[in-house]
Symmetry: C2
Subunit: 157 residues, 2 copies
């Protein structure tokens, strides 16, 4: 039971997009390169972020991706949800239904597990891209500068 690495990659991708100047756009391949991720699979991740309305895509020669929302309006939770999907961490396997032949779709554990998941999610809702970025700036300024320069090279428009 591990979170997909795609969630982490997506968070950093969005953190990068957050550094883009207004109107600029960054090609998917550049981002995947910066993250050291597989380009083709990463493109799929970006699609999920587009579908979730977190980023927008621009096709064509000078195309790429950029944020659709303000960083303070993108929670880590939103990225998690976009990549992992809405299915819950726990889904009853039917053991309970089998043993007690009940009609319900819930089992003895459902309530507890839902509560646990809500609790987990609520923490992910407490941090936004803006707050993450702030933390990044505070602790890794020099590296962030390098990133900025790299972005100037790679961005288009």
């Amino acid at each position: 039971m591990q979170m997909k690495t795609g969630v982490e990659q997506s968070v950093y991708a969005i953190l990068i997009l957050n550094m883009l100047p207004d109107k600029a756009v960054l090609p998917g391949e550049a981002i995947s390169q910066q993250l050291g991720a597989s380009p083709t699979y990463f493109q799929k991740l970006l699609r999920k972020l587009v579908s979730a309305d977190l980023i927008t895509s621009v096709p064509g020669v000078k195309g790429g991706f950029k944020l659709k929302k303000k960083p303070e309006d993108i929670r880590v939770y939103d990225i998690y949800l976009a990549v992992e999907g809405q299915q819950s961490l726990y889904s009853s396997s039917g053991v309970f239904l089998g043993m007690f032949d009940v009609e319900e779709s819930s089992c003895l554990l459902t309530n507890l597990m839902e509560e646990a998941e809500l609790s987990w999610k609520s923490v992910l809702k407490s941090e936004t891209v803006a707050s993450l970025f702030e933390e990044l700036n505070e602790n890794y300024q020099p590296k962030v500068q390098l990133l900025h320069e790299w972005i100037k090279e790679k961005m288009v428009l």
Copy 2:
């Protein structure tokens, strides 16, 4: 990202063992049969519960499994931990280290994810086998009676 079904099965297995009279023992195959689980794989799960000191095993002809702790001392969390292992829900993939070539083992997300996981776990710690069993009795009395009779048939010693 889904919890292993083994966790659910283990919870119900322990709930069954909780209904055993003192000194009695229930063979692994009987339990797996009641749960509709694969007998061989289920035996592995039971081993994990033994290793975690939640249940004890008795080898030999009249052998089987029984609880090692009192139901109020077994938290759902303990079962989760026994089956899922101690590895965390999130483990940094190294994207951060690659981008910022930092030496640390933690990344920007580590703190948040740890907090989220603790929060999730704390809910699992709030419910015990005793409290689950109480809920079971309150809502499914007739079925629990049937289970009790089945146990009388299958138990040994």
